[in-house]
Symmetry: C2
Subunit: 293 residues, 2 copies
Amino acid sequence: MALIWDDLRTVLMLVRHQTLAGAANALEVNYTTVARRVRRAESTLGQILFERLADGYQPTEIAKVVASHAEKMETSEFDLRRYLQGADTELSGTFTITAPQLLISSFLAPVLDDFDQAHPNIELRVLATNDILDLTRLEADLAIRISRNPGDTLKGLRLLEQETASFASPRLADHIRSHPTEMIDWIVYDAFPNVPKGTSPMFPNNRVRFRFDDMVAMLGAAQAGLGVLRVPLFLGRTTSGLEIVPVLPPQPYSDIWVVGHPDVWTSKKAQAFREVLIAHSKWSRSIFTSQAD
Amino acid sequence: MALIWDDLRTVLMLVRHQTLAGAANALEVNYTTVARRVRRAESTLGQILFERLADGYQPTEIAKVVASHAEKMETSEFDLRRYLQGADTELSGTFTITAPQLLISSFLAPVLDDFDQAHPNIELRVLATNDILDLTRLEADLAIRISRNPGDTLKGLRLLEQETASFASPRLADHIRSHPTEMIDWIVYDAFPNVPKGTSPMFPNNRVRFRFDDMVAMLGAAQAGLGVLRVPLFLGRTTSGLEIVPVLPPQPYSDIWVVGHPDVWTSKKAQAFREVLIAHSKWSRSIFTSQAD
DNA sequence: GCAAAATCACGCGTTTTCGCATGCATAGCA
DNA sequence: TGCTATGCATGCGAAAACGCGTGATTTTGC
């Protein structure tokens, strides 16, 4: 009746993913192995944990209970790994950060360069995604985020304040400036599907022309002259083929933070990365706001 | 960097036992396996977890932290196993009880007989020990205990009230009855090293002659006529070569309980065992008290 | 309605893990 | 000082676990 902890972990993954392949992928083993471990767990528990269906493994109620306990075990594992990460004083090994894709080229790239030169023994892994990765689960050690605050459970440091403004292709910008009362076409983000508030009274006629779900595509559309765009200053300024138009005067926007789990925050590598980040933030402040230094 | 849960468990056991053999015994594997798993854990963690000394493995501070987290995982495992035990509706498989040695022959033996005949598919395991086993860790499913209450975390059912009285060998008993004012020698238990309170005024002269740390040995000494003994009625009555003497009139003593963890309490097997236990308790009540039914 | 993709079961050869036996070092003890 | 207990390291053969390939079935997408 000696149950094997890794079998419990396997059951947990199979309950989560519902297919052998999915669980196997998460565990970095062959899916046959998942099937075998689950069979073994079922036999030592004397309980059927999954219904084998054509489209996957359907967990029974008992399997869900097993998984909930395995989840607590997993939490302890992550607690441990974060502790070890936080206690690490080595400036070597791997270090993982995550940032929104669009922050990489304009802001983060020089930071990465500096950091790598200062700490050549650290293998830096960059996860460029708009998804909010779970730092509690160590999906990344530090995250660069655009938000109003670091969140409840995380520690954070505000790197930069930033502003947004309206941008357009040079030709469209010219046209708008010379015909301020004509109808102005906007390209907007799906999550904010209206013309931004705060447009200048000098440009009274605004309407939404396109709604996109992807910022890169929106920038492309703006470059092609399809409309006016509200984006953070740094983004409009560093995108070729766009220039600022006075339709929407610069206005404050969410700040740029570096956030991390308190456990990991103290690690030598995290400290080192923040140092480079802070130094570079001071240097590049003027890209993010319209105010003089 | 995929750490193996069973390696964490192995580290926990090695921190607890400090020797490969001890940990191996607890894990029911060869000690070589413990050594190998610990080496593997050290290598994936990049940390030395133990100092190899001549008399065993000395855990480092980091190992203790690892062990504390593994302990939480272990707690979840026990929580799960108790849940599964409690949800079990089969009247087959193994079932483990514990009871003080001295309760076995006089009280429990017929219960075991009845239970086995009623449920021949259940393999009953009996741990006869005075140690208080940890039911939270499933060292036993149910425990028969002599105490005033079941304890904080456990569920309990009072099976029998009982009384104690004084016993002696027939020859000594005769002598005491015919010479009540002579000095009476007592054999007492280490934990209560004085002459029991409540002796009858008819026998005014009492002293402690021997102190023992073992009840079986005390019974033997009493059988040999070395002195008077205070024991529960059932014990004196069922021990050959002893008879009750009126030095200490029957007086209430701690009750006999069956206790169990709330999670396990509801299992079919536990219910079945309690049934037999209750039935037999009613029958045998007269052995435990001096009062008429 | 049919092709492509996804899923699982099973069998085979390989890799890894494990247990056992041996040898060595140290501590406790007479 | 020698003897014995206990505990660890290492090497070898057995056992277990694993990955891969094949085949069957079902779902998904066009």
